[in-house]
């Protein structure tokens, strides 16, 4: 046990020292339209009355360029439009950045023994050697300059890649980041949950389940942290 802790600490230390130039995503409060932003150290910034303010969010995996592309692409998948807020307000790019930097991004729980049978039929599931980190890094190369294109051209670019592994992942992650518990960095201010009338985790619906038959019951959403009044550590924040 001690042996393992020691090695993992060494690895973590080495990783810290190799940290590249820090990248930040600069966003205006208005662009997230939101109220709550979870910064890297998990302090909550409230930005209500300062819509003109901008703030810098430290990135864990993406470069600033990459983050801007991901934000733009996610917002074509779940756009902000007349049917309500979308991936942009939910802070999806921050969610994806954290997922990629965490165990999931590194494929920590996938079977990655060789040989890889890339040409296997689709019913065997994803068989590639590339981790989510790699898939994004490679995939984003195909989208260079994406965020500066007019919207119709952005859509055309996405149509070109929509059959591929990268797009599939981006689409899934965009849905995750829009609807996850805010503790993962997405669904900022629970905009995703409000969009669809999901109240978040509720301890009990015992009194209501019999009562609302075919009519909406829409309790005010509360996140896990708000409900339990306790901090929670999401899986992407690893202990070092």
């Amino acid at each position: 046990m001690t042996q393992m802790n020691w090695t993992s600490r060494l690895v973590a230390h080495a990783r810290l020292r190799r940290v590249r130039r820090r990248h930040f995503l600069v966003m205006s409060a208005a662009s997230i339209g939101g109220v709550l932003v979870y910064s890297l150290d998990h302090k909550v910034s409230r930005l209500v009355a300062q819509p003109t303010k901008t703030f810098k969010i430290p990135l864990r995996f993406f470069t600033e360029r990459e983050a801007l592309i991901v934000a733009a692409a996610a917002s074509r998948i779940i756009p902000s439009d007349e049917s309500g807020p979308g991936a942009r307000e939910a802070g999806v790019v921050i969610y994806i950045d954290r997922q990629l930097a965490g165990p999931w991004g590194r494929d920590a729980r996938r079977y990655t023994h060789m040989p890889f049978a890339d040409s296997a039929a689709p019913e065997f599931g994803y068989q590639g050697a590339a981790s989510p980190q790699r898939i994004y890094r490679e995939g984003l190369k195909q989208l260079s300059g994406f965020d500066r294109l007019p919207l119709s051209e952005q859509d055309a670019r996405l149509v070109e890649i929509e059959q591929g592994v990268f797009f599939d992942l981006l689409r899934r992650n965009t849905i995750e980041g829009t609807f996850c518990d805010p503790l993962h960095g997405g669904n900022v201010d629970m905009v995703g949950w409000q969009l669809i009338g999901f109240p978040g985790p509720r301890m009990s619906n015992a009194a209501e389940i019999d009562k609302y038959r075919g009519e909406e019951f829409r309790p005010k959403p509360a996140s896990l942290t708000q409900m339990t009044r306790k901090p929670h550590r999401p899986s992407e924040d690893e202990a070092t």
Partner: protein
Amino acid sequence: MKNLPRTDIAIVGGGWTGLLLAKEIAQRTALNVVVLERGTARRSEDYANDMDELDYAVRFSMMQDYSQETVTLRHTSRDRAIPIRQLGNFLPGTGTGGAGEHWDGFFPRHVPDLFELYTKTVERYGEKKLPEDHAIVDWGITWAEIEPYYTKADKLIGTSGKAGNLRGKVVDGGNRFEGSRSEEYPTPPMKNSYFSSLFGDAVKSLGYHPYPNPSAILSIAHTNLDGIARPGCFYCGFCSRFGCMVSAKSQPTNTLLPIIEQHKTVAIRNNCSVRRVLHEGNKTRGVNYVDASGEECYQPADVVMLCSWTLNNTRLLLLSGIGEPYDSATGKGAVGRNLTHQVGSATTLFMEKPLNRFMGAAASGFCISDFDGDNFDHSDLLFVRGGLLRAMGTGSQPILSFGTVPASVKARWGSEWKKAAVYWYDRVGGISFSGEHIPYKTNYMDLDITYKDHLGDPLLRLTIDWHDNDKEMVKFASSKGTEIAKAMGAKEILTQPPYDHYDARRYQTTHIQGGTIMGKSPDASVVNTWGQHWELPNLFIVGASTMPCQGAANPTPTVLALAYRTADALIDHYLKNPHSLI
């Protein structure tokens, strides 16, 4: 290699079966028991804070770590097997409580004729009706022999439901097709979601016979046969893939562990992966495992009980060289044969009114058995057997359910799709079909020749594909699903595409059976009907790996009934006089 002091009984696996046996042995004997569990320690209090869809339901934090161990898959014995690299078609558990922590808790008994499947089917339709290549056999036990153990399992769980056949008399409101029960359910049926009630009304109008799902989730506060008190369900909807934060859902950690912890005779060792069952002549002498620090340990034991679920019960026999591996070409050998999964399909309904589907509980809702087993005439149908149709009452969370739109919406992303997905989000309901998967000679398990686990042992290889009987059953189920959906007033209906090849991406259920099947004689089975190994009488195998075929019903009631039966055989007979029980 660390040599450990001898123990009376070593149990491999700390899930439903392993902990049930540990509890029974602790309560009824003074013997020392060591439970070896590969995953981490867990207690029911751990679940107070787990209502996070992403980490639990999407990233599967309670389930087996595939970076360490998975299985390989091929469709026929001529193909090269390919590893299943991420969780998909089933979701095996790990850690104290096993899959019994994050399960759904549907708790139905099997149809009575399942135990004599070969005899009964041939009696009614003749040998010709059986599918080509089938491996259907009788279990060697009958309904009458297992019923008292089902009742015991119900009293452990506090099962909620309504009897449909009480001591031979059909009762209104319950499942009229069930085998005769000796007692009513311990607790009344659960509450129903709006959608599920619509299903109940619709199937009744069609002349079918709805009944509330038998459920391992308490409907009201209840104290079980061991004096364990648990509260009724809160319908929070965070059931399936989560542990219940209030212990309304029966889980090994809230039903068995509190009793085990009162006994000093049981030690549960976590983070210990068993690699081999050691044997000499006609006896096992213990197990080898790797402990949390990575050290190899030898645990000698007088009795070994494999409770590591279907896949590892089978794999450990193969790795240990116990018994003859099944050979699909010759039909010889028994270890690995009769692999079954589950035939499943789903019908998606787009309803007019909002459903508030965040409320609910996994095993709540209505079910019909009109098309299960042989409850309907198959003379003119292209398949045998059938399954259960249910309206899902499970509470749903947004990541896994957002984005379902009617077929008329072609887009998968962008404004048009989003608008439809938002509109329909709370109007989508599902009817699921859980069908019986017939055993075939060509569906089996053996050791992979290429891929290894993190310790360097060969992975288990599944050779499995869907046959015509399964495909026809799915077609039939989809037509029934559509009929019911229309009667429920669905605005639009989506049916799952028909079966093609067995698909590692498609979650069926985590109901995998076979590999170490029971039987009346040693030539085509691994254990006798008590779960005792034919060749090594001090080795017992417990769990769905001993089931020669799969019933449509969820397996755990039968698994627990058989585990109780093994406990009786071990404690009342074997330990008094160690011998082969036949």
